[in-house]
């Protein structure tokens, strides 16, 4: 585990070189141990792919130099030692997310399908037939970065990002797929839309998905999308 500062109020622990399930398990284990430890001065814990970042408030620590940074590093070492090999305690969720592919909801489905020589419906079937793993949540509120996209569907991001991607849009960016929970600018290829809210500000938690959760997509028709409640 490598520790380094992210500015003056966060420490990043890097647990592996890249994107793989074993690293994700260590990331989840450390993030859970840190959340349970409720260390003094710790304000937030952010797991992502191969890193866990701890945000702290330097003013909650004594004024002697390096003290806050060293204390947070020590807490992270302790939690890493405690969580090593144990694996995450929290149950990973399994979610089925309905998606209406193509048409106005998925204007880029034809582009994605065309690149791998498939018809639009076949590309949709391939996307909805795979199992996905949530590697990270971020970028915008509740946005899940999903690993497990079938290789033929890997498609580069759009040359020019869209100024506004509607909430619920399902996109492909390179080897990843994900869902835009709130309307935002976006450069991913948009292949469909879900009527399910992946981010609910009044919910606890507000984000539907967390790292480690499993996701499958289910094809629905435009009529089913409209009547979904």
């Amino acid at each position: 585990m490598n520790l380094e500062p992210l500015g003056d109020s966060a420490v990043v622990a890097t647990l592996g070189p890249g994107i793989d399930e074993a690293t994700l398990a260590s990331v989840r284990g450390l993030a859970e141990a840190l959340a349970a430890a409720k260390g003094k001065g710790i304000v937030d814990v952010v797991p992502a792919y191969a890193t866990v970042t701890v945000f702290y408030d330097p003013l909650q620590f004594a004024e002697s130099s390096e003290d806050a940074y060293a204390s947070v590093c020590r807490l992270m070492e302790d939690c890493a030692a405690r969580s090593a090999g144990g694996g995450p305690a929290a149950e990973a969720g399994v979610f089925e997310i309905p998606v209406c592919y193509g048409g106005g909801f998925g204007p880029d489905l034809e582009i994605v399908a065309g690149r791998c020589g498939l018809k639009a419906a076949e590309a949709a079937a391939l996307h909805s037939g795979a199992d996905y793993l949530v590697h990270a949540v971020g970028f915008t509120p509740g946005f899940p970065y999903l690993g497990g996209l079938p290789e033929p569907l890997h498609t580069p991001r759009r040359e020019t990002p869209r100024a506004r991607v509607p909430a619920g849009s399902v996109g492909i960016g390179g080897s990843q797929t994900g869902v835009y929970p709130v309307a935002s600018p976006g450069g991913w290829q948009i292949i469909g839309r879900t009527p399910v809210a992946l981010f609910r500000p009044e919910g606890r938690p507000a984000a539907l998905l967390k790292p480690g959760d499993r996701v499958r997509f289910k094809v629905i028709t435009a009529a089913e999308f409209e009547s979904w409640k």
């Binding site: 990043v12 304000v43 937030d44 949540v137």
Partner: protein
């Protein structure tokens, strides 16, 4: 008690000191881009330091007060509005911001504070998700903004010692802690003068000027970023992330502005410039403690200047 928005200005939003505990869900810290100015503005009218206030950007609003109130404007300076001191607005009175004189963002606190519901632990506006603040959006002409009642008011004639204020400048030297990929960029960050492009908002400031060349190769795995992170996209023009920054980023991280210098960045407007100076985590913490010490002196000094105290 209400304030009527006659003209909303360019972008006027409700902000406080941000949300904590929701970064892992992709919800940014948010809150005032210049938290120091917001805290002092609140102190000057007897509010809690984290009370929601209005963040005013480049072009100020024109407001009408139904009842008398005390207000304070801190941060950017505007014609016709004395800054960094309590001001009395009479019932039916107007507070009209003139031309911007310096800085980018002013904070208008009103005695009692703005009455908006907390969302995910914060009362500030996160525009990109339409979350919090005044209906999740910037104020518009004709809006009515509700205030909480306040029984306290400043007494006597006084102003604060300007030596406690940040060293605002149209070309500040911002102290940074080196980032994870600093070694891939040499010392170019510290020798150049970077211009502030029109592409600057609460999420980040795109800088013009020297391009930073990366010696390393390959894509990075996305990891946490924070307000103050200086990231470098492939075009070599650095971006400084601000209060509403996304929670994860995949560009190389060359440096991070220290917390006490975030107000200097928040006051940059298009056409301004910035230089970067190398600092360390230890120095940044010492600076943060020193700033809190100055704020504590200010807070103590103000304690006897309100009725009822």
């Amino acid at each position: 008690m209400e304030v009527r928005v006659i003209r909303a200005g360019m972008m006027t939003t409700v902000q406080d000191l941000g949300r904590r505990g929701h970064l892992a869900e992709g919800v940014p810290l948010g809150g005032a881009a210049d938290p120091f100015a917001l805290r002092v503005a609140n102190l000057l009218v007897g509010n809690p330091e984290d009370a929601p206030a209005l963040e005013i950007t480049l072009i100020g609003p024109d407001l009408e007060f139904a009842e008398a109130a005390w207000v304070a404007v801190c941060g950017a300076r505007f014609d016709g509005i004395p800054a960094w001191r309590p001001l009395r607005v009479e019932a039916g009175g107007r507070l009209k911001f003139g031309m911007r004189v310096e800085g980018c963002r002013a904070y208008l606190s009103i005695s009692g504070g703005i009455d908006v519901e907390p969302v995910l632990g914060g009362r500030g506006t996160f525009l990109a998700a339409g979350l919090g603040g005044f209906h999740g959006r910037a104020l518009g002409d004709g809006d009515m903004v509700r205030l909480l009642p306040s029984a306290r008011h400043p007494t006597g004639h006084w102003s604060i010692d300007e030596r406690v204020l940040p060293r605002y400048s149209p070309e500040p030297a911002v102290r940074v802690v080196p980032g994870a990929h600093a070694l891939e960029y040499g010392t170019a960050l510290y020798s150049g003068r970077f211009g502030v492009t029109p592409n600057c908002d609460r999420m980040g400031i795109r800088l013009g000027g020297p391009q930073l060349e990366r010696s390393g190769r390959g894509d990075l795995v996305s990891a946490a970023v924070a307000p103050g992170t200086v990231q470098v996209p492939p075009d070599g023009h650095p971006i400084v992330l601000m209060a509403d920054a996304q929670t994860l980023g995949g560009y190389p991280r060359v440096a991070h502005a220290v917390g006490v210098d975030m107000p200097l960045l928040a006051q940059l407007a298009p056409g301004d410039a910035v230089r970067f100076v190398a600092s360390s985590v230890a120095e940044a913490h010492a600076l943060a403690h020193a700033q809190e010490h100055r704020l504590a002196i200010l807070r103590n000094g103000l304690a006897g200047k309100f009725n009822p105290s």
